[in-house]
Assembly symmetry: C2
Homo-oligomer: 477 residues x 2
Amino acid sequence: MSTHPLPTDALLRRFSDIVGERYALADPADQEPYLTEWRRLYHGRAPLVLRPGSVEEVSRILALASETGTPVVPQSGNTGLVGGQVPDDSGTEIVVSLSRLDRVRDVDADGFTMTVEAGVILERIQAEADAVDRLFPLSLASEGSCQIGGNISSNAGGTGVLAYGNTRDLVLGLEVVLPTGEIWNGLRRLRKDNTGYDLKHLFIGAEGTLGIVTAAVLKLVPKPAAREVAVAAVATPREAIALFDRVRKVAGSSVVAFELMARRGLEFVLAHAEGSRDPLSEEHPWYVLIEIVSGRSRDEARAHLEEALGGALEDGIVPDAVIAESLDQAAALWRLRHMMSEVQLHEGGSIKHDVSVPIAAIPAFIEEATRAVLEVVPGARPVPFGHLGDGNLHFNISQPIGADKAAYLARWEEVNAAVHAVVTNHGGSISAEHGIGRLKRDLLPTVRSPIEVDMMKRVKAAFDPKGIMNPGRVLAG
Amino acid sequence: MSTHPLPTDALLRRFSDIVGERYALADPADQEPYLTEWRRLYHGRAPLVLRPGSVEEVSRILALASETGTPVVPQSGNTGLVGGQVPDDSGTEIVVSLSRLDRVRDVDADGFTMTVEAGVILERIQAEADAVDRLFPLSLASEGSCQIGGNISSNAGGTGVLAYGNTRDLVLGLEVVLPTGEIWNGLRRLRKDNTGYDLKHLFIGAEGTLGIVTAAVLKLVPKPAAREVAVAAVATPREAIALFDRVRKVAGSSVVAFELMARRGLEFVLAHAEGSRDPLSEEHPWYVLIEIVSGRSRDEARAHLEEALGGALEDGIVPDAVIAESLDQAAALWRLRHMMSEVQLHEGGSIKHDVSVPIAAIPAFIEEATRAVLEVVPGARPVPFGHLGDGNLHFNISQPIGADKAAYLARWEEVNAAVHAVVTNHGGSISAEHGIGRLKRDLLPTVRSPIEVDMMKRVKAAFDPKGIMNPGRVLAG
């Protein structure tokens, strides 16, 4: 928790004056939406929530914060999952909401770029791209409310990573207000630029600890004409990888999703999600969901799927598969995958992990992590699923049948430790998509070498020597 | 030039002892290949050229350099074009050649990664990937001799950028020896990893000024089954962009090259490159060369080309086009593009630029830069060509017919200034691929804001407080 002194009324007045009375929220009721995140895991207090209406106002806020050593917590859509965007309980941290910086500054269809401010909601960016026959491929469960500033600061992943990369790969330029209040205009639109250090990558994924991203130039891609979806059965994750290899060989970067699902997860969905149907006539231990796009036609996407699956069927890698015959069928197949997390609720407590390993290590990881978890909690039921094509698994563990939910969930950290040890053994990551924030801050030094943590601290000290930017997130203060 | 004191014999002995007599080159004849770059634009002196055989030796060299304040110039294949990799004339800078760190540590076909040491030649990496049915898509004119450490340190571009990105986009993890001698093992193989700051991007493109890259995990991609090449005529660069849009729409990221060529450049090739033929029956002011790959078949790549070109022919965007009917024809078409720089030799002096602008700004850039150059040197003959798909042009200017070559070349900086002003107006880059090094170091503050230069200096000071790493490159000392 922040140990900064409580700001004086006079200082708060100076902060309020920058944005004007209306946008300086001091009333707890007005503040509430900014102090709690949606799962209510984190709730804090703030002397002020500031809602600046321009980059210059953000600059003046940070200049004053620097001058007075006042800690600042930047926030955009408030959908983060690791407690990075809500203030702590100290009542010393001022929240700076970027939601009023919501202009789309420029859409350049020919140049495949869009320039947006930090507070623009992701869904709107997708729509603006669509309107000029382009695709902005970042897509997340929270896309209706998350804002691009937060997506950039957390280097969001989501469902488009396999073909299009993480948020980092979709950013060409940034505008950032540094902790000193200086405005860095790095809003370049270039695909190639080797003039000195590439500073934007410092701020992407820094979770607001090095400055406040106020605007970005985003990369757009051609909009596909068609999408085809299939579900294929495989005997083990090893065959899933062999199939991934074939599908990519045929369709290259037109493979936009390659998702792994265990039978147990499918059974949970079939049991608890109304209207869901087993996709194949017989039961199989593992499934993959594949989506392929084409710039030309459904026929082409389908031909790609049929060629890859046909070969795999012949060679015995895939015992059975189904290709969606309609958009409804495609949606039904996707729904099996999308419901997989939610339905675990009906099976009692679930201990969750957001991990990644090298793709080739996935079979060994699943085997070893399952064994490790069962040693800690005999009878626990792992439900591994996720983005096989990215090496990113949501390795969630449902409680043993009939176990006490609270007693099971009390073992969260113990189970995490067992799984993370296997992750680390395989050179993996304990936070593939969600970041570090406050939730995993004290785990960071357990998975990164002292040299690497020290390098991060050097960067932090170079840009935020007073430690005012989102203190205690990512790095211990 | 470095103003460090000349190292004493005792100090040189300490450096030599780290690598052993055989690999500590003090004899000028032995040193020569490390002191000159291939065009002989840069030639320097060094008290020692060290050829360490392990990461630990690199670490000990930098620890000693830090302790004693000795400047160090890292070098791999010595193919850089901006003077970053050769020592200056002071005789104080020790060259550290990475060429003995030439092991391919690991090839992981399933995981689409390869782990290599800094001194591995690019061509060998391509071959190792090919041997396991993968593609490492970085491809450069110097690929037979450049080494991956230098490619990474200069964030090399080349001909595969449109589909596969710059070197930066092909690196998953790094091993770096910091100026203190500390070894950072960041050799991760993950597609998704949000655990703290992404430090590897600091070192990629830093031109050896923040540490020495000793190894890297590279990203491999599926190997295409077929390639198809076409040349299409267009009336102006604006139509070239419209065509680019159509081709990408049809073939997405299977478009691996989209190169623009002016008629004048083609005429130079036809006049001076033996065996070259006009690709179309009539003359046209502009041409594009397109290459499309397919993971499945030539038929598919050809269908993509025909669909995009067919529509463009119907709509009057493209008056004429030819698709290569054989590998020989494809090579002949590519040769027209590849010879374009070389043949300028036969037309007298040529003043060169490696610039990028947003793709949509290319037509305006060419028009305005041409006008600006002609104001400086009436009668000069611009030969714009290059990677339209990346916004990267080699805007080379041949001298006026009959002009004095030396007098023309004496105006190099004046012409550069005129072109760079137009580049800057369009938010472009004066060094799209080649970096800053020594050649453009003093231009950097003219194209980057004081805040941005200051941010770079903060990074430099955080990692290299003693200023021993490749001093005077990228940033003034």
